[in-house]
Amino acid sequence: MNPLSQAIISGLISGTIYALIATGLIIAFQTTRIVNLAHGETYAIAGLVTAALAHAGTPLIVALLAGIVAATIFSMLIEIVLLRPRADWPVSSLILVSLAVAFLSRGALQLAFGTDAASFKRLFVGAPLRIGGGVIPLQGLWLIGIGLSAAFAVTQLLAHTRIGRQLQATAENPDAAQLLGVNVHLTRTFAFALAGLLGGLSALLLVPLVSVDYQAGLGMTLRGFIAASLAGMSPVGAILGGLGLGLAEALVTTFLGALAQDPVIFAVLIAVALWQSRHIRFGGSLRA
């Protein structure tokens, strides 16, 4: 095997997942200005619900749909039940509320599904492909294809459709958007539903290759947030941010070792944050 090729393949797989999570975070951020720290829970919920149902004998396709629906509903409930009634609260308080939701969700998942990791069968079964001295499972290939397509489709939805323009209008000035006939509440709920859908999709694509447990959510949120920050909280940049993060993690692990992964990634995050704050200080338009 060629370690460089394998690092690129592994980086693309994890990077695609980070891109999906980052896109969901950014959509919610754009409509509410809140970094939803409970977003990664959609990944854990979809993975655990699907695994539990599949383990109980439910047909895989039904279990997958149930998982993605559960993640979507969870995300919508965050907006409807927790954020909407507190719309007048400071953004920083609402971010803390979302963090509380993440911990609450973690506890609820532990009670519901136990502490053991879980997984389920691959959707795409077949011999792994060998590319340039690296190996990629069929599920991994589809993961990259479906994941990047979904993330790209969302950027197109935001840029070229009526609902996309409503989302952007809500993000920029909710009062003005409402005056122009945009249902701000519905638009925000739609944004959170879409974010939940992407979080759930990422679990359905990745969990068969790895495993998931009740505490997987916050880790995913953190990775998604780093990718989103690298992208300057722009949906178009989320794909590049996610892939960049995934590739960086994989290359660092391959050539510097697993112990170097966190220090290098967080050093990059700090550097990006400093660079972005420089733009804010001098009147630039970027704001992470």
Partner: protein
């Protein structure tokens, strides 16, 4: 009247004293990445307590198990140890993993006696710490002997970046080269969800055996990545992964040959001693009736701690005197899953004779056949 009241008072106080339970502390991670390790061992200890209590306790005193969840964190392990000592436990059982256990040891300079089955913990003979498994070094030697006996000369190894992985990596370096076995080692972060890179680094030479020293449910990551690669070599998992929950987790990606190095007690046909066999059979049957789940290797590790505690409570006049407990344990073998033999020279209870390379065949663990 006054005499009657005094007599009644004395009777009440003596019966209250007689009913005072033995306080046994247990530190077990029941949440976090190695929760399976803690949960299964804790269940075995709780089974023991209810079994003893149902029979009237030890010397008429019930067992009171006080659990503290350290979440496999060294900081929380220290807090748990302090709390349990403050609560007056006579013995401390530790079902956690290497780092948290090592963090607790400095607090036990004056007791109480602590017992753990973690093979990575090498207690000093002058300490109050006892270990009920063979050491990781013995296990590494067992793996080396198995590989050599199969005529192989290479191992691909993956170890975590935590304290357990450090011990595993150090023992591999001490044993494999000396035995003429070439090995390639890659480290993996405990939170990692993919081991492809590590496998790419170590398995490229088609080593005849892949050894994952990684403990806990996260080790499934390595098995999954192994399956993603379509690898075919026998795959050897760590001592802490011989559990039903781990098998359940990897059942869709089961390696063609899943091996481990573990206590012979987990494979019924490897237990020769009739008393030990009867003890294990009773444990398996009673535990199943109580918990409605079968025992596994982790349960047996929990049983070794329970047997240690039972021997101490039954035979040491005052178990709160740590020096007396140490003196007793160092001079009296304790029957359990194998005979625990401690001495003033070693606080490691089992030797290499009590372990074997095992293979998962038809839903149970049995002695492994040679590598092909």
């Amino acid at each position: 009247m006054i005499r009657a009241a005094v007599l009644l008072g004395l009777l009440l106080s003596s019966s209250a004293f007689a009913a005072e339970p033995w306080k046994i502390g247990i530190i077990a991670p029941t949440t976090g990445p190695v929760s399976t390790v803690g949960t299964r061992q804790l269940s075995a200890v709780l089974w023991w307590a209810q079994d003893v209590n149902a029979k009237g306790g030890i010397h008429g005193r019930n067992i009171d198990i006080i659990h503290c969840n350290d979440e496999a964190s060294p900081e929380k392990s220290v807090a748990c140890t302090r709390d349990l000592i403050d609560r007056g436990v006579v013995l401390l059982l530790n079902a956690s993993i290497t780092g948290p256990i090592l963090a607790a040891i400095p607090l036990l300079q004056n007791g109480p006696v602590m017992v753990t089955p973690s093979p990575n913990v090498m207690p000093q003979a002058a300490s109050y710490v006892f270990q009920t498994s063979p050491s990781d070094l013995e296990m590494t030697k067992t793996i080396a002997a198995y590989v050599k006996a199969s005529g192989a000369k290479e191992i691909a190894m993956i170890a975590a970046t935590d304290a357990s992985g450090e011990v595993g990596a150090a023992n591999a370096a001490a044993v494999f080269p000396k035995e003429g076995i070439a090995y390639k080692l890659a480290r993996i972060d405990l939170r990692s969800s993919d081991a492809s890179i590590q496998l790419a680094n170590v398995a490229e030479s088609d080593a005849p055996l892949i050894y994952s020293n990684y403990s806990g449910g996260g080790a499934a990551t390595v098995v999954k990545s192994y399956a993603n690669f379509g690898l075919q070599q026998p795959f050897l998992v760590s001592y802490a992964n011989i559990s039903d929950s781990f098998i359940n987790l990897i059942k869709d990606d089961m390696p063609k040959r899943l091996l481990s190095v573990g206590l012979k007690a987990v494979a019924a046909d490897l237990v020769d001693d009739p008393a030990e066999r009867a003890h294990l059979e009773y444990f398996a049957k009673s535990y199943q009736a109580w918990k409605h789940e079968p025992i596994d290797h982790l349960s047996i590790l929990g049983l070794t701690m329970a047997d240690f505690a039972a021997a101490v409570l039954e035979n040491v006049a005052d178990p709160s005197k740590s020096a007396d407990v140490r003196g007793y344990v160092e001079t009296h073998p304790i029957p359990s899953a194998g005979m625990l033999r401690f001495s003033a020279a070693t606080h490691i209870g089992l030797s290499a004779e009590s372990i074997a390379v095992l293979e998962y065949k038809r839903d149970h663990w049995a002695k492994a056949g040679p590598l092909k």
